[in-house]
């Protein structure tokens, strides 16, 4: 077990260690809202962070399994490629921004722009998400057990949204779609992987209407 206490050690030293000699289990204490903790990890290590983190925790994560026992600031797991990030509390805006792979689980709520620009990751939120979530989400899956704020899936491409709660005003080109047996299975597997107890049958599916894919004058008001 490698221990870092950010009350006395620097984030720079922590990250350098994680980059130089990543093995086994790591425990980081007293994060106290510091930024860029565990950014750029590229190894199958397990990292447990005890407390709240600031911006860009686990940014560009590859392979690592990172547990945040607290809440996270903006951009948690942004551009993640693989591995997993789990947050016991809430996350601020832009959670999982532009993430390509791996699994982000938020047990609490996410604020605005969750899964913005997502490019293939899986994001599961136990609570609700804020406005403009899945904005320009290109591919990947976003699961919301609670409600979504306004403009869900604005300008969405091929990403899939599953939501159990209420949806505000939908974003441009985002529509409700049919839940087929394939989708139910996909959702069930994802909820299991995320360790979130929820009934897939309670979820609805949202995705792109694909009317903005090529310009058509009749859709000009959507721009």
């Amino acid at each position: 077990m490698t221990e870092f206490d950010l009350a006395t050690d620097s984030v720079r030293a922590l990250n350098q260690s994680l980059h130089d000699s990543p093995q086994g289990h790591w425990r980081v204490s007293h994060p106290d809202g510091r930024h860029c903790i565990a950014a750029g990890v590229d190894a199958p290590v397990e990292i447990a962070i005890q407390g709240h983190v600031g911006y860009y925790c686990a940014g560009m994560n590859k392979q690592a399994d990172i547990m945040i026992n607290g809440s996270a600031g903006p951009g948690v797991a942004e551009n993640m490629m693989s591995g997993s990030v789990r947050v016991s509390g809430n996350v601020s805006h832009c959670a999982g921004a532009s993430s390509h792979g791996g699994l982000l689980v938020v047990e609490g709520d996410a604020s605005a722009r969750c899964a913005i620009s997502m490019k293939g990751a899986d994001i599961v939120v136990g609570g609700s998400v804020g406005h403009m979530s899945a904005f320009m989400a290109q591919t990947g899956r976003l699961v919301i057990c609670g409600d979504a704020g306004d403009y869900l899936g604005d300008s969405i491409y091929e990403a899939v949204i599953y939501i159990a709660g209420k949806v505000g005003e939908l974003g441009a080109d985002c529509i409700e779609k049919e839940m087929t047996p394939e989708h139910l299975k996909s959702l069930k597997d994802l909820l299991t992987a995320a360790g979130v107890a929820a009934d897939p049958g309670e979820f609805r599916r949202y995705g792109s209407a694909r009317r903005l894919y090529n310009f058509n004058i009749d859709h000009a008001s959507d721009y």
């Binding site: 106290d32 809202g33 510091r34 709240h52 600031g54 809430n90 805006h93 604020s111």
Partner: protein, 299 residues
């Protein structure tokens, strides 16, 4: 662009900690705002017959006592002057309008930072650490306070352009973000009689609130109207005599974190400014929703 912080005590016994908590929060926001720092503290409410002004002079050797004596003689008023670094807190029973006119005519090098019964505003160029040390912030007690660390975007780095901005009695505003329609709005407000000292967008927001309050709006209503009338990205924290309020624009790209426990309510641009506060472990921490007015204390 900037860092903003605010602290409001629900438990008055903690008023003695105000300066220490405020100082800690301000220093945590140094990277967001290396150019200048400012605070508005609410304390030492004066008698209803009196007014409290905070004044600033660029000259570090400014003769504040001399000003006090001259003022007392000219306006036949009681005047107390307490100096704090480059500022002076002046408490007097002279009427506010006469005071402003007298200062305008006789002391062109002195700027009025705030007016009211409770508020004191201090702002200076330099890092937050320098500010905290120079002003002995830890020694200040009070019921609530706002703070701001500035990275100057479109207007100059001067004391005048720093936040908090005060355009009304015991009213102040700090802002993180950038407005986009403030120039035309400034002209409109000027026609309505609101005066501006700078070309700073945040000052326009403060002036707008003052104008709304003059029209009879409550602080909540004024901030609600701001959502429609102010364009751009902003997190505002507003201080009033007895309370404070927070508002984010509808798009909410500029950060904001709030924390509340039985003893206090705090807000900051980044959680790390709140992380060190005593009692944070017991606090509920949340992110304010966009286009929603949060307020504490009466207006």
């Amino acid at each position: 662009m900037c860092g903003i912080v605010g602290i409001y005590y629900k438990n008055k016994e903690l008023n003695t900690q105000l300066g220490t908590m405020l100082a800690s929060m301000l220093v945590q926001m140094s990277e967001r705002g290396p150019d200048s720092a400012g605070v508005a503290v609410y304390r030492n409410t004066v008698h209803p017959s009196k007014t409290k002004l905070t004044l600033h002079a660029a000259d570090p050797e400014y003769d504040w006592d001399g000003l006090g004596k001259l003022l007392a003689a000219s306006l036949a008023a009681d005047v107390e002057v307490k100096v704090r670094v480059s500022h002076a807190v002046v408490v007097t029973n002279a009427p506010l309008q006469e005071l402003r006119e007298w200062l305008g005519s006789n002391c062109p090098d002195v700027r009025v930072m705030s007016a009211g019964s409770t508020i004191e505003i201090y702002k200076e160029k330099g890092t937050p650490r320098e500010f905290v040390d120079r002003f002995h912030l830890q020694d200040i007690h009070g019921s609530h306070a706002l703070g701001h660390t500035r990275m100057a975007t479109e207007s100059a780095i001067t004391t005048q352009h720093s936040h908090p901005f005060s355009t009304g009695l015991d009213l102040c505003l700090v802002h993180n973000g950038s407005l986009s329609n403030h120039n035309r709005l400034r002209e409109q407000l000027q026609r309505e009689g609101i005066e501006f000292q700078t070309d700073n967008d945040s000052e326009v927001a403060a002036g707008y609130l003052m104008w709304q309050l003059h029209q009879g709006a409550s602080l909540k209503q004024a901030l609600g109207s701001a959502i429609n009338d102010l364009d751009g990205f902003y997190t505002f924290a507003v201080g009033t005599r007895n309370g404070f309020a927070v508002l984010r624009d509808p798009i909410a790209c500029k950060p904001a974190v709030m924390a509340e426990n039985d003893d206090w309510v705090a807000m900051a641009s980044e959680f790390r400014a709140i992380a060190q506060l005593p009692g944070v472990e017991q606090a509920t921490v949340w992110e304010p929703s966009p286009a929603t007015v949060y307020s504490w204390g009466s207006e």
